[in-house]
């Protein structure tokens, strides 16, 4: 009979200051109650602000006290154990070698109190972290991260000492913002204000219609639009600068560490061997100035609940000439010289054309019905735009294999290049739609945990079928490269 190990319980506790943090948070959460109360009381319906404040304070403090008293965590053997021991009893045990990443976040309140939030992700995390320890002292959070990310290096990992890979200067960050203009946000916000500016009874549509019929000279419209674009541009730059302030990416013992943020400070630690997919993307504006954005995806981590736009973001701006060097830090054995690109065949144009025509066609027909007298000419224009988009889109599609890596590039306005190690692929899908069947094409989709799927789109059916059928045994024979399949 196997002897049972003695039952151990985790002893780690949240920082006592968590009560203060939760109090501030509940003030924020119930701030609208206070505002509502003061608005009502200012109209002479009551004067007991102290009572309301006291009630909220007691409510907030009680919740915080419960959280502080009931949460326990700690490392027991090779597992990280987390439990809550009150009304809803929970016990989570995560083998440390299954942890995908450990993230430290500091909001403004955390920083004021010297605290940090620790998020622990595994392959099963999805959008929400598996475990969130809301408030530890910064030193304790750092210590925990060190313990949880201490793993045996993988054959692909470099054992070089800590390397600062990239430190974003203010110029880099302003460039990141300047090439990602938030003009649509500004126009949206301005448009939503229009009805209010024109009186309480008018809807947005009637306000826009009224504005177009009024005698505002066209120069004012042009200047207004330019003003909005300029405002959007400035907002984008400030936003990028504040969000990514002090962005530093370092490489140490097979792990990438990144730290950034002026107001909310964030720290990530990702084992290189957990990276499932690397995503280079650029807009036409960014490619014009020679910059790309690089994302990396793990099975369940690198996501940010409060800001989904930074999910998986490795570097907000990387100059084109440093991309390959940068990629080789993540995938050390990637050999660029062996790349042989296979373009999508010309007949894939028809599949792409029909897909795009659906969208533009619906838009064109809708507008033609709504504004009969001027929008009918939109229909041939929709066909033309669809044809040009499809032609350029198909021309930009290409795939390649090199070593254990597969590459897929697509997009002519916004270009995206996905790089996936074949041994990280979870499943292989071969799909053939009606039109593809007619044209003798098929798409191979490689599905990777926590990452966008990689499509080898519109390949000749024989080639696609053979590639898929050869890829499956190849992937299966890499099973022992990773103990848990991710």
């Amino acid at each position: 009979m196997i002897a049972q190990p003695p039952l151990q319980k985790p002893t780690g506790r949240l920082d006592p200051r968590t009560m203060l943090l939760d109090f501030f948070k509940s003030l924020g959460r119930f701030g609208w109650v206070l505002i509502l109360y003061f608005v009502v009381s200012s109209r002479g319906r009551g004067d007991s602000a102290e009572l309301v404040l006291a009630g909220l304070a007691v409510f907030g403090l009680f919740g915080s006290l419960i959280q502080w008293l009931t949460v326990r965590f700690g490392v027991i053997g090779t597992n990280f154990v987390y439990e809550t021991i009150w009304l809803l009893k929970t016990e989570k045990t995560i083998p440390i070698d299954r942890i995908q990443s450990v993230n430290i976040e500091q909001t403004l309140i955390h920083r004021m109190l010297g605290l940090a939030k620790v998020r622990i992700d595994t392959a099963a995390s999805g959008d929400k972290a598996d475990i969130e320890l809301d408030s530890l002292s910064l030193a304790e959070a750092e210590r925990l991260r060190m313990v949880l990310t201490k793993e045996v290096a993988h054959p692909s990992e470099s054992t070089a000492p800590s390397l600062p890979l990239w430190q974003a200067t203010s110029r880099d960050l302003l460039m990141a913002g300047a090439t990602k203009n938030a003009w649509y946000v500004i126009i949206g916000a301005a448009a939503s204000l229009l009805p209010f500016l024109r009186g309480s009874d008018s809807s947005l549509l009637s306000a826009v219609r009224g504005s177009t019929k009024s005698s505002v000279p066209p120069q004012v419209w042009v200047l207004g639009l330019l003003g909005l674009l300029l405002a959007g541009w400035i907002v984008s730059m400030v936003q990028a600068w504040v969000k990514f302030y002090g962005f530093t990416l370092t490489h140490h013992a097979g792990r990438l560490h990144r730290e950034y943020g002026l107001i909310n400070n964030r720290k990530n630690s990702v084992p290189l061997r957990r990276i499932q997919c690397l995503d280079w993307s650029t807009t036409w504006l960014r490619s014009w100035v020679g910059f790309w954005e690089v994302k990396c995806f793990t099975a369940g981590a690198m996501k940010d609940k409060q800001d989904p736009t930074v999910g998986g973001l490795l570097c907000p701006v990387v100059p084109s000439n440093r991309l390959r060097t940068f990629t080789n830090i993540v995938f050390a054995d990637l050999d660029w010289s062996g790349l042989r690109w296979t373009p999508a065949p010309a007949r894939a144009f028809w599949v792409s054309f029909v897909e795009i025509l659906w969208i533009y066609g619906i838009l064109g027909v809708g507008l033609s019905i709504w504004q009969r007298h001027w929008a009918v000419w939109l229909l041939p224009l929709c066909v033309l735009i669809s044809a040009v988009s499809a032609y350029l889109g198909v021309r930009s599609m290409k795939v390649a294999f090199s070593g254990r890596f597969v590459f897929a590039q697509a997009g002519w306005r916004n270009t995206q290049l996905l790089i996936v190690p074949l041994d990280k692929v979870q499943s292989v899908q071969l799909v053939q739609g009606l039109l593809q069947r007619r044209l003798g094409l098929a798409t191979v989709t490689l599905i990777v945990a926590g990452s966008p799927a990689l499509h080898l789109a519109h390949l000749p059916v024989q080639l696609a079928s053979r590639a898929a059928e050869k890829a499956v045994p190849w992937i299966a024979r890499t099973g022992s490269w990773s103990a848990d399949g991710v």
Partner: protein, 181 residues
């Protein structure tokens, strides 16, 4: 190797087989249930949109038309759907293919399987069949409906308890020949 029953080329050593015929009965019942609910929604929308604006007989006529359409389409697809479904397992992966309009073949390498479950709905129980669900760490999962109970158990045991291929590629293995033989 291309056979009339397979959508795409099949790798050597893999045999794809059809589902149990009993699954067609479950699909017939599901078609009727689906038709019932979709008709209820259709009739409600019709009532709200067409009220007092059309002749009295048009609403029931449209509803009957809808019922006839959903049942005819649903029932006529069952045979084709059954014919399109194939599954198989070899030393490397579990593979399924299906699809009447859009043909799909999905393969999950056995080393990537995270967990397997056997599902049995009330109609499955009535007709003596089971459904096998296989999950990976990615978003794709395989659901094989209409398996005889012993076949579902066999697949589950093999997927979970039998080791996948013993072969292991060296870490510097080259995948370039997947596209360029």
């Amino acid at each position: 190797m291309q056979t009339p029953h397979h959508f795409f080329e099949v790798r050597d050593g893999l045999t794809l087989q059809p589902l149990d015929e009993k699954v067609k009965r479950v699909w017939v019942i599901n078609t009727f249930i689906g038709a019932f609910f979709s008709t209820a929604i259709f009739a409600a929308i019709e009532f709200l949109v067409l009220r007092r604006e059309v002749a009295w007989w048009r609403e029931p006529a449209l509803t009957i038309g809808w019922v006839v359409f959903t049942l005819t389409y649903g029932l006529s697809m069952i045979k084709r759907r059954f014919k399109s479904w194939r599954y198989g397992m070899d030393e490397y992966a579990l593979t399924v293919e299906h699809g009447v309009w859009t043909r799909t073949r999905l393969s999950i390498p056995r080393a990537r399987i995270q967990h397997v479950e056997i599902h049995e709905g009330p109609w499955d129980r009535r007709f003596g069949i089971k459904q096998l669900n296989v999950h990976t760490a990615g978003t794709a999962s395989i659901q094989i409906p209409g398996l005889p109970p012993e076949e579902a158990e066999r697949l589950r045991s093999e997927l979970i308890f039998t080791a996948a291929t013993a072969e292991t590629l060296p870490f510097d293995a080259d995948a370039s020949d997947l596209l360029h033989p």
